[in-house]
Amino acid sequence: MAGLSRIRYGRAFVLLLTGAYFLVPLACAVAFSIGAGTPGRSIGFGAYTGVLGAGGFTDSLTLTLKLAAATIALVLALLVPALVTVRLAAPRLRTLVEIVCMLPLVVPAVALVAGISAVLRWGPDHFAGTPVFQALAALQDQNFPFVLVLAYTLMALPLAYRTLDAGIAAIDLRMLVEAARACRAPWPRTLLQVVLPNLRGALLNTAFLTLALVLGEYTVAAILGYQPFAVWILAISGSQAQMSVAVSVMGLLVTWVLLLVVATAGRAHHPKETS
């Protein structure tokens, strides 16, 4: 019994220490953002109420959300058909698809953006006046820089692949499809009404992890000179330190709650696992 209680104290100790390390900075950040803890400042929620009116906030957030929506759509449009195909029709391609999806891991974001900016600089010199030039210009449109969507999609591929693949592995895809086909459902209907609904949890999960990635992404956007959410936070940090901290904390918490909701919802749909 003595051993047991010692173990229990040990666990409590580890949890306490971990909790302190991870919660204290968040708590301090909240305190900082409302002006507590720093002398000479009155406590107030100005940093939070002022966010909506702050210059550039709506623009950068809209841009980020648009980018996120496009990235999620592109990631799912590329991955879902590929993964379903690999499971159903071409298991031999599995390794190839896995390698392709893991490739972006070998190229850190900074190196990727170095390559991208080299392409963007190199293109106009050689293709001036051709459709390629216009395409490159369209990619860099300030209102909706599609080049960021391409970069984010690449960066999201490894994570999205693992999430979706785990989701597909958890259901018996072959059996579902064969059942649907045996009931004379045509292929499109099988995919849309049988396969996709069963992957709802994995799809949601992938979408939200991609959202988290796009919301927090700074490297590529900053170096290419665009100003989505994360870049905006850094830009205002000089003049409005409290607000930048307030927005950061809110961003972290909102993403966390969203992911938690998705995790809980995704779990509720599965039958209880036996182990």
Binding site: C28, G37, L88, L112, G115, N205
Partner: protein, 310 residues
Amino acid sequence: MSAIPTAAGGSSRPRSAGRSAGLGPARRLRPPRLTGWLGVVPLLAFTVVVFGLAFGTMVFGAFTTPETAPGGVHLTGANMSASVHGAYLTSLIGSVKLSAVSALIATVVGLPIAHVIVTSRFRALRRAVLAGSGVLANFGGVPLAFAFVATLGNAGVLTHRFHLLSHGWSLYGFWGLTLVYLYFLIPLMVLTLTPALEGLRRQWCEAARNNGANTFRYWAHVALPLLTPSLLGGYVLLFGSAFSAYATAAAMVGSSVPLVTMQIADALSGNVLVGQGNVALALGVDMVVVAGLVMAVQLPLQRRSARWLA
């Protein structure tokens, strides 16, 4: 950015439906062979074009002179050689050192935390921690840096409360950066270790105890050897993640700690001499080499741990 097992990614059920192609029923139930291949085409085309173009241009630029140079574009090893000398070498070493140290600390600290979380009786705690880990490991970057600046920066709440500045504390140095990196590396380690720890069967522990082993011996002779591939794989993954991180350092320290990612960014945005653009590409190639080595070590280790702890 990193290979992250997801918080709520899915069940731990083994994959069963993978390769039972020969056993299926009638042929007409399967997708026709040709259209079956078509599903993979968009993904492959996308990666070949986007990834191939960016990567190819980077490698090409790293080994050639810039177009503005007298004599035009020709092959040269000067960029690569410049990227491993002088200030660039310092930054490479700085990055490697920071990543190695922070990944080591995160691995050592992450194991007990992951163990406590995995064996916890409170499922809600588990779920919350795993989702939180997913956010911290992925979201990271700028918000994280600001939370720490507000806490321990020069005007931070704790710095002020405990007069840390007079004790010589600075968040904007090597150890400060390590402290911040741990904030996203430990969650990443927890996420990486969770599946492996879930694979440790309770029976193994009971068997060890029945043979007279105490907790220490169980860990030293049973659990740790089983977990070693996962731990090593996790360490390598963390190293890669810290090595390629840029946003946190950029938002926090400016250039007081030399890091290769900052050098690349500086060279790209023209903060240094003109014509250094191709050296930035060469540095990018250096990073790819390091990241490639990391992956080459990590993948076999992952396979190995998956064999035991499936």
